[in-house]
Symmetry: C4
Subunit: 506 residues, 4 copies
C-alpha cells in the first residue's frame, strides 16, 4: 500500500526521542538528532514532534528551504508515505474560536482610514502570540515608542500660492523608480500573521510600484517571493550575515543572480534583542515563535544565546566590507546606523547608503530614533564633507515609527531619500491579506497627494529643509515626577451642564 | 387641480434614475442628469432624491443660489405643482428624540460663564453629524489642539499702578471700527447647527459692533447675510477661488458692490483636508454633510478629489494676485499664511495683510499655530524690512484655538491687529441661536474689561510686546515615552483620611 | 416686655420690600432701602432678609463694622427688642448633615503630616461653598496651579560635611523677628471656614512667633484681631484702597495707631477677578459668598461691576504713592508686583519692598508665579542698580503655591526675605480651628529644621543662591497634543504576576 | 527546675513598668529602665515588652550586638531560664494570612524577566509595613522618582560593525575585581523583608563576583556578614558616624581588621529624613520598624529627633576627615555628595572617591539625581583640575533609580566607575531570598552582555562619553497645568472597530 522507496510513518514514529529523533517536513523525513542542540528555537519544540509530521509547526516560521540549508544532505532520509503518517490533530481552543469569530467581524476595508486602523483591527484578529511577536520591542520599549514620538517634534512650514494642480510624489530609490518615497522594509516571519506571509507584500508592492525589501528571516523563500514579482518589479534584500560566510556568499550571489537590486546589510543586531512582552507569553510546544526567543524556557545557561549566534555573526565588522564588495556588484547599504560617525565611515568606504534605524526599537532601548539621527548626519556631512542630501551618490534612509505621509515628508525634507515602513504593512496583511496592503498603500498615496498640495510642493524634489522646523528634534524631555498630594487636592473645573444632569448629581 | 404651466409631481417622479434624474428644490424642478458626476458631494446623495423633493436635504448645506449658479439656465425646468408632489417623510430616530430632549434641558444662558461652555452644551444638543463636521480636523488633530495649546506657552508680564478707571478695548480693523480686537471668522455650513445658520452671526455682530467675515461656503446667501446687516455694519468676505475665474469675478464684484469691505482669499486649501473623525461617522443618504467629504463612500478612484477641485482651484498662485487687484478695489488679505517668507511676499506685493492661520487645524496636520507663526513673522519683518506691528499699512491677523480674551491680548501684544474666532461662535448658535452668539460676545467684553485692567493697559494700543513672555513659543515638546513597569510599581502617596474612610478600607 | 426705646420686631417686619427695606444686624435696625443697589453682593440677598434678622447671613462675610462704615449714621434706626423678632429658621439640609458627620470623623491632628493634609480634610469637612470660595481662582486656574508647579522647576544643590548640630531658621522681616521665613498672608472671609475666622491665625501666630498680615476683607474687625494679639506680637495690614481716600486714610491711620508695623498695598486688583468655579456654584439667597461674585445671578448689565468698584479703586496709580507716604510712617510695600520694571520703580520711589505675587492665581490667568518673577527681579536689580538680595533696605517677598519648607528655602536662596502662605492656613483652621494652624506651623518648623540640615545651612543667611538650580524657572512647556490613535494601539508592558492572578485572567 | 545562675521568667515578669523595665533578648535579661528615653524608636515599643521576651520584635530590626553595644555592661543581668519564660503569642491576622497565601503563588523565578518584576512581586508578598519602609522616600517623593526618570533623559549613540564576538563587562572598583560595574549598596534592616536579611546579599554577591557594601544599620552583624563571605570576596562598609567617636573608631578598626576593603562615610544624613508614606502606616507596638521613625506616635516634643541624633552625628564635618585618616588605612569615600564643589573638596583632601547620591530620595526632596550631578562633576573637574573619568586615583560612584544595565552603561559612559543598586536587591530577596538576588544579578549579566554588543563596546573601557547624548540631563520640566475645560470638550479620535462592536454601541 505504501509508495515505493518511501519510508513508512510507522517506522518514523519509532524515532521519537533525544537518542534518535526524526521528523517529517513537507513529506520528507529528516534525522535531526545531532541538530537538537543547535536549533535556535531550542530542542524542546523539535522533540515534541519527534517521530511525527512537524510541517504545520515548521511552516509559518521557516523559509521552505531552511531545513535543507541547515542540515547536511545525508540527514534527509527521503520521502515518507504520507498515507501512513498519523495526522497531528490540532485542537482549536476557545480563545482561538473567539479570535476566528472576531475575524468575521472585521469592518469593510473602506472603513479603514489610516494605517493606525490596521493595527487596531490586527490586534483583535491576529493570534495573540503573533501580535506579541510583531508588536514587542526591547526592554521597556522606550525607543519603540520614541520612534513615533520623534516625528511629533517636527512641524511644517508650508508654502502657499504655488500651483498645486498637478502633484507628483514618485521618486527614485537607488536609481529605481518608486511611486512614493516609501519602501516596504524587511520584517521577519510573515506567516505568523497570514498564511501567505510576505507574498502579500510582493503582490501589493507590484500593484503600487513600490519596492519590497525581502527579509532574511522571511517565512517565504527568496525564490518564491521573486517568482511572485511582476516583470520589472524591484526588490531589495535584507541580510543577516551568517558566521559561515559561505552561506552568506551563497545567499547574496543567488539573490543577485535572481535580480535583487540592492543589499541591505543589518548591522544593529550582533545579538538579537530581548523582547520581554514576547517572552511574557506562556511558551509551550504549541508556540510558533519559539524561534525568535533568546530566553524563556530555553535555559540560557545551556547556550541558547550561543545557538542564536549560530546564524547571526556577532563578529561582523568593518573589515568585512571589502569582502562584500568582492562577492557582489549590488549596491551595499548598511541597515541600523545610529550616529553620524558610522554614517560617515560608510560614505568614506564608498557604500551606497545607510538606513538610520534602530530595528524598530527591538534591539537597544534608548537608541535614538532614525529621524533624529538623520538631522545629526545631514548636519555633520555638510560640516565634514561639504555634501547635502538627498544625494544620489550616498542615500540616506530612515525607518521606524512612521504612520502618516506627513512623517515621510518630514524625513524627505530633512534629507532622506525614502522611508521604510514595516509593522503597518504586517498589520495590514494580518488583518486583510494582500487587499490590506493594497489599501494601506492607497491610503499613503491619498495622503501624499493631499499633503504635497498642503505644504506647497509639486514634487518630492520640492520638499526642502526650510519646509520643516526640527529645532526640537534632540529634546528628550521627562517631566518632573508629579506632586500626587497637591494634584489630588486640586478640584478640576467643570463645564455648564444640562439641567437634568445637574439635578441628578445633587 | 395643478397650477398652470407647472410640472406635476407625478411626471417628475418618473425621472428617477441615473439615465434621467430630476429633482425638486424650493419648488422648482432641475434636470441634474449631466451634473451627477460633477457634484462635489457625489452622485449617490442626489440619486437618492431622484424624482423627489430634495429641499430639506439641500437646504442646510448649500447657499440658496448654489443650484442655479452651478447649472446652465436651461436645466431649470420651471416650477412644480407642490400639491402633486409626494412629501418626503422624515423619520425621527430614537437618537434624534433623545437629542431633542437634551435640547430642552439646556442651562439658562446666565449659567454660561465662558466660551468653553458653549462647546460643552453644543456637543450635547447638536445633531451628532453636525458636531462631527464642526469639531473634526486633519489627520490626528495634532495641529487642531496645538492651536489652543500654543497660547499656554505665552505668559503675561502685567503692569501695576496705572489708572484703570476707564479701559477701552475697541480697535480698528482695516480702518473699520470694532468694539473689540476680535472678528467672527468664516466657517462653513452654519445651518447644520441651527436653522438660521450664519444669520445668527450677522445679528449678534450688529448688536456688538464686531465684524463678520462671510464664508464662501455659507449656508445662507451673501445677499441674505448682507440684507440682514444693520446700517453701517461692516462685513468681510472669505473667498475660495473657483477654477472658473469668471465665477470668482462675479462673486467678488457683486460683494464689492453690495458693500463688503475686505476680501480674505483662502490660500491654505488647494485641496480640502481629510477629517477622519467626520469620515468615521456612518454616511448614508440622510447624511447632510456629504458635501464636505472628499472620501468615504464616494469611491475616490472615481474622481471625488477631482470633483472637489471643480470649485476650489488648486492652481491658484502668486500670479493671480494682479488679476485680483484688477477686479476689485477691496483690500486683499491672504488667509492661511504659515511662514514669514510668504507673509513678506504678500507685503512686497502690496496686499493689505495676512491671516496667520492653519484653517482651524483642518488642513495640514503639524502645521504650526498662527500665534507661533506671528512671532516669527514679526521678528523677520523687523529684520528684513524694519517695520513693526501692529501696522496700519499691512495688518497681521491670527486665528485658531482662541477661547479667552487673554488669548486675544497675547496675540495683540505680539503684533496682531485682531484675532479671528470661529468654532466658539458656531457652538454658541448651535446651542442657543443668536442669543448664544450675543452672550459669547458679552463674555468676551467682560473678559477684555477685566484683563485690560489686570495687565495694566487702558487701551489696545497699550498692549505692548513687553507685556508677554513668549520665549517658549517655538518649543514643541514630546515627553519621553513612560516607563510603564516602573510607574506601575510606584505606589502613590496618600492624604490623611477621615477615620471612617480609613476603617472601611481595612 | 419689650426694651425701652427699642423698636419692635413686628414693626421692622413691615419694612420688607424694595420700597422700604429694613434689616436687623447684631440687634440693631438699619434702613438699607437706598443702599440696595450699591450693595456689592447685589440687592437680592438683602431683600431676602427684608424686615428680618440678617445677622447669621451677615456675620461670616463682613467685618463687624462694615454696615456702619458703609451707611450714613442716620440709617441706623437703633436697637430692636430681640424678644419680639421672629427667629430666622435655619434648615439643616441633608448635605449639611452629611458634612457635620464628616466633621466628626476628622483624623486626630497627629495624623496630619504636611500642609497638603489640611487641604484634603478641609475639602471634606468645609461647607461646599466655602471650599469653592477659598479654592477657586481666575479663568482656567492655570496660574493658580502654576504657582505651585513653578517650585518643581527648582532643584537643590545641597552642601555636606558642615556642622549641623545647631540650626536656626528664624529671620527678620522688615526688621521684626520671625521664627521662620514665613508670614501668614492676607486672605478674605475667614469666618466662611470657621466661626472664629482670622482670630485663629492671630492666636497661632502668637504662639509660634510668626507675623500675621491682616486682610482688609477680614471677617473679623482689625481691632478684634489686634486686641487678640499677645504683647510684642507683630501684625501687618493688607490694604485695598478705597475710591474714597478718606476711608482709606482712616483705616491706615487707625491701623498705625493701633500698632500695625507695615502696610501692604494691594496693586494687582483694580478689578476683582472672575472665579468661575465659585460662580458655578448654585447661588441663591442662602449663599454666603455672594459678596465675592462679580457676576452670576447678579445681572451684570445692572452694574454689579460698578458696584464692586465702589470700594476698590481701579484708579490707584503711582501718583498715589506720595500721598500714602504723607499719611503714615509705616513701611509701604506693594503687594502684587509681577515684573522687574515695577519692582524697580517701587525701589526708586523708596518703598520698603514688594510682594511678587499674582493674588494666589485669583486675578489674571497666565500671570507668572511669584517665584519666577523673583528670579527676573534679582537679576535685573543686579544689572540696573548693582544691588543683591536679601536686602534690608528693599525687601522681596513672594507668595502663592507654597506647601513645603523646601519651597520657602528655594525662595530664600533666590533672594526672598520671606514667603507668604495663605490658603494652607485657611484650610488648617477650617478643619481644626486654631489647633490646626498651630500644627501647620509646627510642621513647617520641623521641615525647616530637617531641610536646613540637609542642604547644609546653619542659618537662613547661609541659604545662598548656589544652593539651588533655577535654570529651568522660565520654561513654560506644553506637550505636543497626544497621538490618540497610536497611543490606544500601544499595548502596555506588564509585570510578572502571581500564579493565581495569572490563571484567573486566562 | 530552672537553670543554674539563670534568672527566672517569673522574676523578670515583675519588672514590667517604666519604673523598672527588664526585657529578654536572645536568652539574656537586660535592665533598660534608664535607656527608655534614649531609645531611637521611642520607649513605647520597649514598654510593650517590659518583663517579657522581646527577641522576635528585636530581631528583624537590630544587629545582634546592638543592645550590648548601647548598654553599659552592668545592665546585662545575665541569662534567663527560657523554660520559665511565658512565650509571647503571635496572632496571625487575616491580612497576614492573605499575604502568606500570596507568597505561595509567586511565579517561578524563570518568569522574572527584569528587576522591575522583583518589585512587583515583593510588593504583593512582603509585609505591608516592610514594603512601606523600603519603598518610602522624603516629602513628596519627587527626588525618589526623579532618580529613575533622569536616566530617561540620556540616550545612546551606539557604534556598529565592531567585532562583538567576545564582550566583557567586568571591571575594577577601588582596585578590586568586579564581574560587572555594579555593587550592592547599603540598605538598612534587611530582616524586615526576609529572615536571613543581608546574608542573602552576601551569598549572591559571592556567587557572582560582585561587591557588597555592608550597612551600619544592617539587621545582621558585620561579623556574621563577613563570616558568610567566600575566600577573596570583597566587602565594603557604609558608615553612619556616631556622636561618640570612640564607637565609630571601634567599628571602623574592627571592620578593617576583619578585612573590609573600603569605608563609605554617609554625609547626606545629619538628620534622618521624614518618609511620610512610612509614617502614614498605623504604628502600634507590633510595628517592627518603629526604629526608623522620627515622628508618628512618638511625641516629637519629647525629643525623638534628639534621640535619633543620639547615634548619627549632625556635627560631622570636613574637620573630621583627618581623624578618619588617622584611624584607618582603608580608602575613604564620601557617600551622598550632591554638587561639584564638595566632590572637588573631597578630591583635594585626597579621599579615594565620592558616591554621587541622594540616599535613594529618602533625605532631601528636590535633591538632584546622582546621574545628573555626575555630569556636572565631570565637567567641573575637567575645568578646574584638568582630569577625566573614570579615574583610578579618584573614583566616582552613582546610586539611585537604576533598574537596567542600560542605566549603568549610561553612568559608566559619563565617567562613573561603578553604580550602586539597593532597593531592587532588597525586593529580590524579600520575594525569593538568596535565589532572588542570584537571579537579579544573572539578569544584569544578560543585559550587560546584550547591551555591550548593541552599543558596540567590547569592554567597559570602550564605553565612552560619545556613546551617550546627555544634553538634556539638566532639564527639569514641569508641564503648564492642563486646560481642563478645553480638554474635556475635546473628543478623542477613534479607530475603526469590529462590526459587532460598532453595532452594539449604536
Amino acid at each position: 500500500m505504501s509508495g515505493k522507496g518511501a519510508l513508512s510513518g510507522t517506522e518514523v514514529a519509532t524515532h521519537n526521542s533525544r537518542a534518535s529523533c526524526w521528523i517529517i517536513v513537507h513529506g520528507k523525513v529528516y534525522d535531526v538528532t545531532d541538530f537538537l542542540d543547535e536549533h535556535p528555537g531550542g530542542s524542546k519544540i523539535i522533540l515534541k514532534y519527534a517521530g511525527k509530521d512537524a510541517t504545520c509547526e515548521y511552516e509559518p516560521i521557516h523559509p521552505p528551504n531552511a531545513i535543507s540549508d541547515n542540515l547536511p544532505p545525508e540527514k534527509c532520509l527521503g520521502p515518507v508515505d504520507m498515507g501512513t503518517v498519523k495526522r497531528v490533530e490540532i485542537k482549536i481552543t476557545d480563545q482561538e474560536k473567539a479570535r476566528l469569530g472576531r475575524l468575521q467581524l472585521r469592518p469593510p476595508l473602506d472603513e479603514i482610514l489610516n494605517l493606525h486602523d490596521f493595527e487596531a483591527i490586527a490586534k483583535l484578529v491576529m493570534p495573540e502570540k503573533a501580535w506579541a511577536y510583531y508588536s514587542s520591542a526591547a526592554d521597556d520599549e522606550i525607543t519603540h515608542r520614541e520612534n513615533h514620538a520623534a516625528y511629533h517634534r517636527i512641524w511644517f512650514r508650508p508654502r502657499i500660492l504655488r500651483d498645486m494642480t498637478h502633484v507628483d510624489w514618485s521618486t527614485r530609490i537607488l536609481g529605481h523608480r518608486s511611486s512614493m518615497p516609501v519602501y516596504i522594509t524587511a520584517t521577519a516571519l510573515g506567516k505568523l500573521g497570514h498564511p501567505d506571509g510576505e507574498l502579500n507584500l510582493t503582490r501589493a508592492a507590484a500593484k503600487h510600484g513600490v519596492i519590497q525589501m525581502i527579509p532574511t528571516l522571511a517565512s517565504c523563500s527568496l525564490d518564491d517571493l521573486m517568482d511572485a514579482a511582476q516583470p520589472g518589479q524591484v526588490q531589495f534584500l535584507q541580510l543577516y550575515v551568517n558566521k559561515d560566510r559561505q552561506v552568506t556568499r551563497r545567499i547574496v550571489q543567488h539573490a543577485e543572480k535572481r535580480g535583487i537590486k540592492a543589499l541591505f546589510i543589518t548591522v544593529d543586531a550582533p545579538q538579537l534583542g530581548r523582547r520581554e512582552k514576547d517572552m511574557r507569553m506562556k511558551f509551550d510546544a504549541e508556540d510558533p515563535d519559539e524561534v525568535t526567543k533568546s530566553g524563556g524556557e530555553v535555559d540560557r545557561s545551556q547556550g541558547a544565546a550561543k545557538a542564536i549566534t549560530g546564524f547571526i555573526d556577532p563578529g561582523l565588522s568593518w573589515k568585512d566590507i571589502p569582502w562584500f564588495k568582492s562577492i557582489t556588484k549590488m549596491p551595499l547599504i548598511l541597515k541600523g546606523v545610529q550616529c553620524w560617525e558610522d554614517a560617515l565611515e560608510a560614505y568614506d568606504q564608498n557604500l551606497a547608503g545607510v538606513v538610520l534605524s534602530n530595528h524598530g526599537g527591538r534591539q537597544l532601548d534608548f537608541a535614538r530614533s532614525g529621524i533624529e539621527v538623520l538631522v545629526e548626519v545631514v548636519e555633520k556631512f555638510k560640516e565634514k564633507r561639504g555634501i547635502t542630501f538627498p544625494n544620489p551618490r550616498f542615500q540616506l534612509f530612515v525607518d521606524g515609527g512612521v504612520r502618516r505621509a506627513t512623517d515621510v515628508l518630514k524625513a524627505v525634507a530633512l534629507g532622506a531619500t525614502s522611508v521604510g515602513i514595516g509593522r503597518p504593512f504586517l498589520y495590514a496583511f494580518s488583518a486583510y491579506g494582500t487587499e490590506g496592503v493594497d489599501k494601506a498603500l492607497q491610503i499613503l498615496h491619498d495622503e501624499f497627494e493631499m499633503n504635497l498640495r498642503l505644504i506647497g510642493a509639486q514634487t518630492i524634489a520640492d520638499v526642502v529643509p526650510s519646509m520643516v522646523d526640527a529645532t526640537n528634534i534632540h529634546s528628550h524631555v521627562v517631566a518632573v515626577p508629579g506632586d500626587r498630594l497637591y494634584d489630588s487636592n486640586y478640584e478640576s473645573m467643570q463645564h455648564a451642564r444640562l439641567r437634568e444632569t445637574t439635578r441628578a448629581k445633587m
